[in-house]
């Protein structure tokens, strides 16, 4: 083992305010903490999943100000003051979000690990007035990998909810 004399500087902590699922949190985070790790490790919101940490799988999808993002590709400090919705924030008490209900009814998952990301992506699509056709849903949901292969059921669930809610 060599003797190392140089000390290693670590990044400073910065105050970060996040409004997650309607609740305000004031954190002190180093800038290298991703939004995903902030949610999972600092706020104990484990519903948002880590599947690759590189923006390649979509499991970490959350809504920032209503828009879909990969929380693993976003540093928490970049979202200071913004409103974040995770899978834990979709149901109203015991009343599940229509997409959550539709996912259960259509058996749109198996292991369940990609499911929070799939549902958040789908909520984002509907918010953005997209998902107007099955082809569009397939294209726009292709950033969310489901290794169990529930894609056709996921699409059925989204199309059903789209049909029920109309073009909002």
């Amino acid at each position: 083992m060599k003797n190392a004399t140089e000390t290693v500087e670590l990044p400073e902590h910065y105050p970060v305010s996040l409004k997650v699922n309607g609740q305000a949190y004031n954190l002190k985070l180093q800038p290298w903490v991703s939004l995903l790790d902030a949610l999972r490790d600092h706020l104990q919101l484990k519903g948002t999943k880590k599947g690759c940490d590189h923006g390649q799988c979509g499991a970490c999808t959350v809504l920032v100000n209503g828009k879909r993002i990969n929380s693993c590709l976003t540093m928490a400090v970049m979202k200071d003051g913004e409103e974040i919705t995770t899978i834990e924030g979709l149901a109203k008490g015991d009343e599940l979000h229509p997409l959550q209900k539709a996912f259960i009814e259509h058996d749109a998952f198996q292991c369940g690990y990609c499911t929070p990301g799939q549902i958040c992506s789908a909520v984002g699509l509907l918010n953005e007035g997209k998902a107007n056709s099955l082809e569009e849903v397939k294209e726009l949901m292709s950033g969310n990998i489901c290794r169990c292969g529930a894609y056709t059921h996921i699409n059925s669930a989204i199309m059903q909810v789209k049909g029920e809610t109309g073009n909002e």
């Binding site: 999943k49 880590k50 599947g51 390649q56 799988c57 950033g143 529930a150 894609y151």
Partner: protein
């Protein structure tokens, strides 16, 4: 209230946990003072670590400890202590055991720190110098070094040849031969391997682990660390996908346990996606198939040889060519299966191991020989249909493959197919229709379960099996509720804990049959106890009734002869002052049945592809998968398993391949950006058919399991469809546009890529 639940498409009982993000996976259990581990991996494939310099990393504030082979001691000495329930013959890999590097990305150290980010950063400061040695990772160039696969792997038997295939082939008028290749594939469940290890004061350790077998991890950890079994508890209520990758304990559980025991603190270790490519994979395989037939389409000879890769330290074996001796009637069959040792990690079972590899080559060859004699490929399969298992000389307990053919073909519209290749098109899209069939073993393993019926009429059944997405929670709840005639909402099934009765590894499509039979057995015990109690009730309609006069449904026990004479479960317990009924039960395969019958599930797959004539791109537009797998406990969850298998088959046929750089012995595309799996837009219409199949012999539930059977015939069906569309046979998977174009260009049916 109807209580006939099996066969019904019940929604998953764990559905609301999964859609709300409250189902807890291995990395999601918390503990006070939790530390974070980050694993470092070898950058070379073969050689020795000369020096591993952790000094700078240790300077980082927040780093608690760095474990390497230089500072880890006190572990089990003998490599047999590292064997697990799914180990192939050989000497298992021992993490951090010595300075030897056996394969690229071998784990060589663990950084433990107060945060994940600090651990990851410190890991980047570790400097490792190696002495490299000459390595060999190219399967195709090393077939001459192959050797016979040893016995030892569960279920593996040496393939048996019969007749004289070579001479018949030599003289045959109609014959074909070809070589089929696929590279390594990686499971890539979406949840990465993770362990949260909780050290407890009295020397016990609780491991929240991603695994397909809590008992296997318990055994493995207890042997390595010299802990008694009762001091190792493994818990795994939810698993974010397995596909075989979790059958063996993976190295993160070793790392987390090591750190927790040494530091006496809770530690979490999660692999990165890149590290998900650093242990078992579906082995790359080279296969050669030759076949002959007479002018009536009768197969006269089959020759099938396969060469699978394995590591230098273990002989991973698959059942590949054995299937070719049982699929069709043929008197002359020559089979050979050998292994080639390479400087790679030991391969691991991956969905339908062996069978899916075999079917790609064999069912493509069946299509080719059918074309040689100019017979429709489906008709050709019917001509050579095997009523009995020709290898074992035994009838199948049931085999409704003909029903799969008929119902699948009808749904697909196969009769409208023109046999000539390149005869169907839409503009510049060449349309092809192909089909194939497959089989898988219907296995049952010994399993145990416990049932507790409490005074409030609620039943809790438990067994230490796992839920990898297959619907185990749901179907076990259905079986228990139906057996005791209870409302499904009054029944809870628990799994994934070594404190529960032992269940086999969750693999091989045997969980429903094995654990399901144990759940049924233990519920029958509870029922017998309730009947006894009901008979003992005084002045009740059931007083003195014999057990055979009683039955249960709708939450009540009643006289078969007079359903009006009844008592609820709660009434029986109250009247007999019974606080609770606790029973244990077990179930296992019937050894007598195995001597008289063979047990297989079957499937026929029909696929339509569109191939762009100019670009060579292949799109699978439709798949029909017809499955004969005995009774289907839950068409919804079973249908999802088949659906997922078909997606896997499409992904395998067109996309999946872990590309080895043979200069460095390293997988190049070890991430989800470059290792392509099917995404939403790759998947179009998929129809699943479960044909009726009655089977009293296979197990008490009459079920055969559906985890594997759906994938087996998908890749060959697609390869055959590509041939029908284009007239070229792409024998190497995945079928990518470059291969389609190159073969069309060269106008020949065989190239080495």
């Amino acid at each position: 209230m109807k209580t006939n639940y099996t066969g019904q498409p019940a929604n998953r009982v764990d559905g609301s946990l999964k859609v709300t993000g409250t189902a807890k996976y291995a990395a999601e259990f918390e503990a006070e003072g939790l530390l974070f581990g980050y694993i470092i991996n070898s950058t070379i494939a073969k050689g020795k670590i000369k020096e591993i310099d952790i000094s700078q990393a240790m300077q980082v504030a927040g780093v608690v400890q760095i474990f390497t082979h230089e500072n880890v001691s006190g572990l089990a000495w003998f490599n047999k202590s590292y064997k697990d329930m799914d180990s192939p013959p050989g000497d298992p890999f021992r993490p951090l055991y010595d300075h030897k590097i056996r394969y690229s990305m071998q784990p060589i150290g663990l950084v433990v720190a107060t945060t994940f980010e600090v651990a990851r950063f410190a890991a980047s400061l570790i400097k490792v110098t190696y002495k490299e040695e000459k390595l060999v990772t190219n399967l195709q160039d090393n077939l001459h070094r192959s050797k016979k696969a040893p016995m030892g792997k569960v279920g593996y038997v040496q393939p048996k040849s019969r007749g004289d295939a070579e001479s018949v082939f030599a003289k045959a008028e109609y014959k074909i031969e070809g070589e089929y290749v696929h590279a390594a594939e990686h499971h890539n469940p979406l949840e990465m391997f993770a362990t949260t290890a909780i050290w407890e004061e009295d020397g016990k350790v609780t491991l929240y682990d991603k695994t397909q077998g809590v008992s296997n991890v318990q055994l493995y950890i207890s042997n390595i660390f010299g802990l008694s079994l009762k001091n190792v508890r493994v818990v795994s209520p939810f698993v974010g996908g397995g596909f075989g990758s979790g059958l063996r304990p993976q190295y993160q559980v070793f790392m987390a346990t090591l750190a927790a025991l040494e530091l006496r603190r809770p530690v979490r270790v999660v692999m990165t996606r890149q590290q998900m490519f650093s242990f078992g994979h579906r082995p790359g395989t080279v296969q050669r198939v030759a076949m002959s037939a007479d002018e009536n389409g009768k197969l006269t000879s089959i020759q099938h040889e396969a060469y699978g890769e394995t590591s230098q330290f273990e002989d991973y074996t698959e059942i590949v060519v054995n299937w070719s001796g049982t699929m069709y009637n043929c008197e002359n069959v020559k089979l050979k299966y050998e292994l080639v040792k390479l400087d790679v990690a030991t391969p691991t079972d991956m969905r339908a191991p062996g069978a899916v590899t075999s079917a790609h080559a064999f069912e493509s060859a069946i299509d080719e020989i059918a074309y040689a004699v100019k017979i429709d490929p489906l008709e050709f399969r019917k001509i050579n249909y095997a009523e009995d298992d020709q290898v074992e000389g035994k009838p199948y307990s049931s085999k409704e493959l003909r029903a799969c053919y008929d119902q699948g073909a009808a749904k697909f519209g196969w009769s409208g197919r023109s046999i000539e290749p390149r005869s169907m098109r839409e503009g510049n899209q060449l349309i092809g229709w192909g089909m194939a069939n497959g089989a898988w073993d219907a296995l049952q393993m010994p399993a145990k379960a416990q049932a507790v019926l409490s005074l409030d009429g609620k039943l809790t059944v438990s067994s230490g099996t796992s839920e990898i997405g297959t619907g185990t929670y749901t179907i076990m709840t259905q079986i228990a509720a139906e057996t005791l005639g209870m409302d499904i909402n009054d029944v809870t099934f628990k799994l994934g804990d070594t404190l529960m009765p032992m269940a086999p590894l969750q693999g091989g499509s045997w969980t429903a049959a094995s654990v399901g039979s144990a759940v049924k057995a233990v519920c029958e015990e509870v029922k017998a106890k309730l009947f006894k109690l009901a008979s003992k009730t005084k002045h009740s309609p059931l007083s003195g009734a014999a057990p055979k006069e009683l039955t249960m449904a709708e939450g009540h026990i009643f006289l078969i002869s007079d359903p009006g004479s009844r008592l609820s479960i709660i009434e029986v317990m109250r009247l007999t002052e019974t606080d609770s009924i606790i029973e244990s039960g077990m179930s296992g395969p019937d050894p007598a049945a195995k001597t008289t019958h063979s047990f297989n599930s079957h499937a026929a797959v029909f696929a339509e592809v569109k191939v762009d004539e100019d670009l060579g791109t292949v799109i699978v537009t439709r798949v029909v998968c017809a499955v004969a797998a005995g009774k289907i406990l839950n068409p919804k969850t079973a249908g999802s398993q088949i659906l997922g298998s078909v997606v896997w088959g499409i992904s395998k046929a067109l996309e999946e391949e872990t590309v080895m750089d043979n200069n460095f012995g390293r997988f190049m595309n070890h991430n989800l950006g470059e290792y392509h799996v099917a995404v939403n837009k790759d998947i179009n219409d998929i129809d699943i058919i479960f044909v009726e199949e009655h089977d009293d012999l296979v197990n008490p539930l009459g079920i055969k399991g559906v985890g594997e059977i759906g994938i087996i015939a998908v890749a060959p069906a697609i390869a055959n469809a590509v041939f029908h569309a284009t007239g070229v046979r792409v024998r190497d998977l995945p079928i990518t546009m470059d291969k389609v174009l190159q073969l069309a260009e060269e106008d020949k049916n065989q190239v080495r890529v």
